[in-house]
Symmetry: C2
Subunit: 499 residues, 2 copies
Amino acid sequence: MLDAWSNLSRRLSELDALAGTSGLLEWDQQTGMPPGGAASRGQQAAVIGSLMHERFTAPEVGQWLGALEQSPLDAVQAAAVRKQRRNYRRATMLPTRLVEDLAIARSEGFSAWMKAREADDFGPFEKPLQRLIGLSREAAERTAGPQTAHLYDELLEEYDPGSRVAELAPMFTRLSAGLGELLAAVERRGAQAGPQAVELELDDAGVRTLSRRVIRDLGFDLSRGRLDLSEHPFTCGLSVDDVRLTMKLNRKNPLGALAGTIHECGHGMYEQGLPKHLSGTGLDKAAGMGLHESQSRFWENFIGRSLPFCAYLLPRMQGIWPDLALTPAQLFASQNRIERSLIRVHADEATYNLHIVVRFELEVAMLEGRLQAADLPAAWDAAYEKHLGVRAPSARQGVLQDIHWSSGLLGYFPSYTIGNLYAASLGACVQQEIPDLWGQVARGEFGPVLAWLREKIHQHGHTTDAPEIFKAAVGDRDPVADLLDHLWSRQGRLYGVER
Amino acid sequence: MLDAWSNLSRRLSELDALAGTSGLLEWDQQTGMPPGGAASRGQQAAVIGSLMHERFTAPEVGQWLGALEQSPLDAVQAAAVRKQRRNYRRATMLPTRLVEDLAIARSEGFSAWMKAREADDFGPFEKPLQRLIGLSREAAERTAGPQTAHLYDELLEEYDPGSRVAELAPMFTRLSAGLGELLAAVERRGAQAGPQAVELELDDAGVRTLSRRVIRDLGFDLSRGRLDLSEHPFTCGLSVDDVRLTMKLNRKNPLGALAGTIHECGHGMYEQGLPKHLSGTGLDKAAGMGLHESQSRFWENFIGRSLPFCAYLLPRMQGIWPDLALTPAQLFASQNRIERSLIRVHADEATYNLHIVVRFELEVAMLEGRLQAADLPAAWDAAYEKHLGVRAPSARQGVLQDIHWSSGLLGYFPSYTIGNLYAASLGACVQQEIPDLWGQVARGEFGPVLAWLREKIHQHGHTTDAPEIFKAAVGDRDPVADLLDHLWSRQGRLYGVER
């Protein structure tokens, strides 16, 4: 037993090292790799990826797990064995043929999607998408066990272990209805009653300085991480002590760039707060994409778009741009406008979730076989009409806007709204538990909030699934109610509307 | 046979990808890794290193080589199989116990060396060094075959395949004698007759701009490489299309920093010129450290310290620093002073080789058992008296100055002077074959020289060993005579002395 545990632990540490290495290959590719390096980088990433698969799915790993399952284990070991058994089962259950077919379908899907976008025509993407859905369904059927209530749960398991359609679907329905009420109320007031956008154009060097200042103030440890530039902002934890954030500069929208950086910083502080003492158990990891997203959204939206945060931020901005004539209230108003829109990635804090509800409904229908790829564009438009009340004038602004499906990422979208829901309840809780929260935020004292998240979320790593960590953190709260309360209280008040 | 070849080729490509990955881990650690990342980076590098060893020394590799050795092969395949058999034999011949002992001895040797330097006392380093020498000797004895003329050849094989003590020793002896004559002649003229040092203090941003300009002009392809900052300048080829150079800024010695960058650029252009079409054969590699060093020294010294290069450089410098009042001749004089000195890494182009001759003699004596670590300090002083006519006032400025021995790098030092010797003959040749060479250099037209090196050196990769590539490039030249001629002609003229 001792041997099996130390062998498993050694293998998991090796896989961590490979994952960190793979992360560095990716980080470098996005930040500084010379263009000529693309082909060799692809080979390097493929070799590391296939070694990781090979080392994890090796027969001896199954034997160690089997031996450990017959042995007395402490709580950490038992959790580790449960998690790895689950991963091992999923990783070894797909026949090589299916894995290869999926890889090809993803690559073809991506090319077809690019072509379809170029032509602004869904046509070329239809068949590749249908194929991807078919293969995803086959994979889900193969990994499904007797406890699987819905095939889509198998997709969720990949990104958000422990999330279930049976729980998500009713929450998303209530959320959509509630957001519809808020939007309707806001629109009854008329556009002129709403907050005004502040349009700033700030120099890149200043925005970089400000961004570094802000993430340091929030609590991102720059001795255990970096902030660089990339085309698409992302966070990459090479290890708990080496976490890389990136940001994208945008002269015309510096506040948007800063919000993106705060978002990544939320991801990064989660990575930096994971339980280092659990290294070698596989439990020192984020508990899923939804919980990860809750950390980025909490900082970006709940803290970063609050009036007290604007009061903290403005003097720091004026330290760099002394001529900036703005009030915290103007900044706050500009950051919290809401409106029906077509493009998910540009949507505001409230309506963003409606874009996710659309995608979730369509994905479930496609996986169940109720919706064929050929009928997707019409279904897309109908769903947008239903949830958002808008209709895309083109495929590019509609069904072709996201990369996810083209790369076979089915089951990923819900994470974003799961994150917003978790973040809302965490926000409601932290407001109760830290009475001076907003005073602290206005003074730039973010330590107590971060410490609260460290204790409630970060330190637990993946010792249990996210839904349990969340429940232990906030108790029996209703995250849909918390999110709607938050939005009515912040955006509703700003627009002068009440429930 | 076909199977064995394609299996071998696939494995070699996989090893290339791992080597490039390992290079990126190292590059990142030296350039931008946050300090917190050190421990996990060590694990990442160790895992990749051990996977490389495991994948290369696997029994199937030996079987593929065996099958191929029984099969009809084309010239490239035959060269590839020869090279890999040699590497495989060396990599599989050392018992695990010896490999582990060596790793421990290196780590202990490094710590002891640090401690000894700190205390400026050779004592703490004596026993660990003796152990390292003993283990290196044991390793050399194990890899030695019937064709091994001298045990030290087995060490050379590691860094400079094809180099032999029997050829190096007499060359080094002649070189030391010839350099002694040059130094004596210069000193007879008296110090006041010599060229004057130009002392510049230039801003870092300008030096970075100039460095990028210069390496681009020389022919380094920045779409297939980068230039970054690090504490110790180095070059790292992640692949032929992704070559990373680094430089170290030094406000007080900007010309030294630039010379270092040109040196690394020489390494980098060699890496960028390796034969891409031989990928998957293991022959698309540098043919050894000596030949690599010939490329860096050729550009740093032969081109980079020439009067025409100074004439090219000065206007580019004045473009950045318009007030720079200097002539090319002053720059040239300052860059070509020679003097006896104690520290290898600060030595000039001529006397540098004497530092290497000292180390080579001591290494051979230690490996033969004629010299014990306990007697090394005295032997060091005696050798410095003999070859350089100076005596270190402290261990730190003497026998403890280099990191190499502490890390078990025995047999590496000769590469530096092998590089200088090769570079001298390449320089003599290129001067004959490109009659307008110096006119081109003065005009900043480096393309023809680079093309010449690409044809004579780079494109051959490691299809044969460096001594053969060198001979094919320059014919029956005597590199010792070429180096001495070059120095008498450049430095001798500058000091107003003749042979």
